[in-house]
Structure formats: structure tokens, C-alpha cells
Symmetry: C2
């Protein structure tokens, strides 16, 4: 395993982790101040700062990117289908402009939640078909832009409203069908979404063999979890066996950043420097 | 598919559905009044009424049982190992005394949550080993008592604190290892826990082939879900494609009861007759 005890040269911070405390330019400055090597910014934060200005600020601060968040939310009906497609193409273009190594995709759940206004449905099998068709179409655009996509399986508790792609095996099956032998469609492995999976270690090994391990996200699972969306734990504060999962990911050939992504009302209420210092400390000690 | 439009002769109500409104004897009486065919009672409710008295009341009311809730919570350390084992044997004996067709098992998660006081651990792989060893031991006792066990996979959001058995495939693998070719270890399929699973239909078909479909539970998944434990939806009020899942279960050979099991602060605040009448109506119209 890689030694994380020294400078946080492999640490990336997903900018949603401190999205309530500051805008993107301030986050960039703060991450640089803490010696953090990279960030993964969100589209709304980039848009608020301006795409060009955001790109310059990241470069000037000497930060790298571990990803760009996010495209996807594919299931849709009626006029929302074309809107989703166009929106996702723009996301690819923005990621390419910023020089991001990948666009993170969150698949979307049932169409009425993925693209509000779409026809309500209970057909999760149909939603999965829409996801696969939509990603197939987006892949053509992403290949032209030379920009890998990284589909992130989300925890099954988000199957209805956020992502009907819920396991690593499911993601890798999709990638195999749409991008056989290729590296245009990778996977982002987030411990929060995948730690429970009895097939996690088999999935990580397969993702490594298939050269699809594009991004690795850490945080923690708290017991109890008081909110399904915004009660993630700071890395090390929960029950996830982080060292064992990172070992598997690195044994499978992953050499990229360790990205801290924590959606948490608690951590959003803390000063930005405290949050980032804690991310750095946990990166050194528990990841 | 079976016709559920007439009398609720295939409807069972899990007594936790109305546990805040009444004790077991009153629940038995109310279910009989609504023409409900069966119940699945909980140990604490039976204990409060007295085992013999509960058994007599169920029989006198003309109700059948679809199961007995519940054993399991296996992972433990130190003196809690023997306590868990003894507790589970008593659960088997009680189920046999009542004439229940099976004892429902919820596997348990990490030992500090399954059996409080046990040594804290983040080792979910180790917890799964404890579960399999514990069920293997309990099976010997259950076979002597001629009482099938029904292991119920729980939703992955309960992996840490309630059950580290989270998919049908995982359950069936365990059953195959511990009860190859047998029918001593079956499975309870609950739509709430399994609806998201991309391998659900394959798992149901396999469970049918292996003659392990012992119990079938319905309720619904609400969006948003405001509480991870007590915000299940009344059957038909959420996003689960109920008809499609029941069709798969029945095509796989299931001929047992449709058991309504709804943990819900909302439905616990309603009069018992309103809840039971709604269970009957939804059984007729949306299951």
C-alpha cells in the first residue's frame, strides 16, 4: 500500500465537502493553503465562479483535478430526454475545458426524480434501460472529447431517486457492454456506497483487471445515520474498514488520488479550515 | 398469478404493523374481524400475552401463522456468544410451540450492534463469518424441532447495525453451503429490502428452484424516506413495482401468504381498524 503518512500529495477534496462554507475560488485557495494536492469541483460551483476563471484559479493554485462532478441523471421522458442529453454533453465539454481526468456520472433513478416533469414510473428495469441507452449516446461525445466517463454506483438507498446503478458488478457489466476492452467508461468507487457489498472485493479486482478504476472516494458510515443524504461521517468516524478497502483498490492497480467527499450537515457547520485540516489528518492516519 | 380480489384468504399481517396500537390479543381479534387469514407475531408481543395464551387466542380466532419474528442477531463476542445462541434456540422452541411454519431470522450486523456489549469491530467480513457459523449451529437445533428457518436479507442501509446479509444471492449462497439440497433454511423475501436489487428476479427464480421461498413481505418505498427505520410506506403508496415482483415470486412456485409488514410512525399513529382495512384494500388492489 502507498504511504500516506507524509504530505497530502495524494489527497483530493471534493468541493461539496465545504460547499456551504465558501465559493469555489475560496475553496481552491484554502485547499492550496493546506497542501492538498487536488480537488473535484461541482458544476454549480464552477458556473458561479465562471468556467475560465475557475480553471485559471485551480491552475494558479497548483492544484490538480481528480474528477468533475457531475453528469448523468439520465432517465427522462418527453422533452426532458433531449434536455438531459444536451446537459450531459455540456458537462463533458466543461470537464474537458478544465482538464479534468474524468466526468463523474450519477446514473439517475426513476425518471420523475432524475428529470422532474418526466412521466412518473415504478419501472426500475425500464429506468436502467434508459440509463444504459443514455450513457451509450454520451460515450460517443465523450470519446470525441477524449474525456473518460466515471460511472459511480450509489448506495441502494438511492435507487429510486438518485441512481438505479447500485453495485460495482452492475456498473462493470454496463461498462463491458458499452465499452468492451476500452477505457472510455470507468468507475468511481466510493466507500460510502459500496462498503456493504458482499461482492465488493471481487468487484474491485474486476475493475482493476478491466482498467476501469478511475476515482476513489472516502468518507464514513455513521451508526445511526440520521439523514439519508447529509449525514455522512468524516473518514474514520464510522464503521467502514477503510484500510482494507484501500488495500484492495491499490492491489487492483489504482494509483490515483484519495478523494474525500463528505455530505454532512455537521461538517458544513464547521469552519472550512477545520474541515480541511481534519481531512488531511484522517488521510494521514486512517485512510 | 393468484387472484387476490376476493376475501383476504392469502393475507397475513405482521403484528409489528400495529404494535403501537394494541397488544397481541387485541391484534388477533382485530385481524379476525377484518377477515385476515394469518398473522406473523413478534416475540415480545407473544411474551407479553404469555406463550400458551397467545397460541390459544390465535387458534380460537381461526388465524393461521405465516411466520414467527424473530431470531438471529448472531454476531457477538465474549459471553454474548452463548447468550445469543441460547436466545435463538428459545425462539425456535417458541415458534414450534405456536405451530409457526418458520422462524424469521435477521442476521445481525457488526457485533457491537447485534449484541450490545460485544467488542466493537469494523470487520463486516468477520461478522458474516460469525453469522454463518451461528446459523449452522442453530440449524441443528431447528432440524430437531422440525422448524424451518427463514433468513431475511435486509436492505444494505442496515448492513452495519441490523443485518450483514443484504441480498438474495448472498442468502441463497449461505443456504446452499449450510443446507445443500435441503429445506431447513429458507428465505423470506421482503420487497422493501430487495426491490432495488438488479439481481432480484434471478434471485427469486433461484430461490424457487431451490425450494427456499418460505415467506413474502410487502409494504412500499417512499420518496423521500424520512427515517431509515420507521418510514416504510403502506403497500401501494411508494415506488415499488409490486405486481411484477409478486408475479416473479408466484412463477417461482410460491404459494404462501402475502404478509403486510409496515414499520411506520405514520401508520402507528392511525386507529388499528383503519390500518387493517387499508392493508386488506391494498392486498386486493395493488399487491
Amino acid at each position: 500500500m502507498r504511504d500516506l503518512g507524509a504530505a497530502p500529495s495524494l489527497l483530493s477534496v471534493n468541493t461539496a465537502t465545504v460547499r456551504k462554507q465558501a465559493g469555489l475560488l475560496e475553496i481552491v485557495e484554502a485547499c492550496a493553503r493546506h497542501g492538498i494536492a487536488a480537488i473535484s469541483p461541482w458544476r454549480d460551483q464552477v458556473a458561479a465562479a465562471g468556467l475560465d476563471r475557475a480553471g485559471r484559479a485551480i491552475k494558479d493554485a497548483g492544484l490538480k483535478l481528480s474528477g468533475y462532478c457531475r453528469g448523468g441523471l439520465v432517465p427522462a421522458t418527453g422533452e426532458h430526454v433531449a434536455a438531459a442529453r444536451d446537459d450531459n454533453r455540456r458537462a463533458v465539454d466543461e470537464a474537458a475545458t478544465l482538464g479534468a481526468p474524468c466526468l463523474i456520472l450519477v446514473a439517475g433513478g426513476l425518471p420523475q426524480f432524475a428529470r422532474p416533469g418526466s412521466m412518473p414510473s415504478k419501472d426500475i428495469v425500464g429506468a436502467r434501460k434508459m440509463i444504459e441507452d443514455g450513457i451509450a449516446e454520451l460515450l460517443a461525445h465523450a470519446r470525441q472529447a477524449n474525456l473518460p466517463l466515471a460511472l459511480e454506483p450509489l448506495h441502494p438507498m438511492y435507487a429510486a431517486d438518485r441512481s438505479a446503478v447500485n453495485t460495482l458488478a452492475q456498473e462493470l457489466d454496463i461498462a463491458e457492454r458499452l465499452d468492451a476492452g476500452g477505457t472510455a467508461l470507468g468507475v468511481a468507487v466510493d466507500v460510502y456506497h459500496t462498503w456493504w457489498d458482499p461482492d465488493l472485493h471481487a468487484g474491485i479486482a474486476r475493475a482493476g483487471r478491466d482498467r476501469r478504476l478511475v476515482d476513489y472516494h472516502v468518507c464514513d458510515w455513521l451508526v445511526p445515520t440520521r439523514d439519508m443524504l447529509n449525514d455522512r461521517g468524516m473518514t474514520g468516524d464510522g464503521v467502514i474498514d477503510l484500510r482494507r478497502i484501500r488495500q484492495a483498490v491499490e492491489e487492483a492497480g489504482y494509483t490515483g488520488f484519495i478523494e474525500a467527499e463528505i455530505f454532512s450537515d455537521h461538517w458544513w457547520s464547521q469552519p472550512i479550515d477545520r474541515v480541511l485540516a481534519t481531512c488531511v489528518e484522517r488521510y494521514r492516519t486512517v485512510v
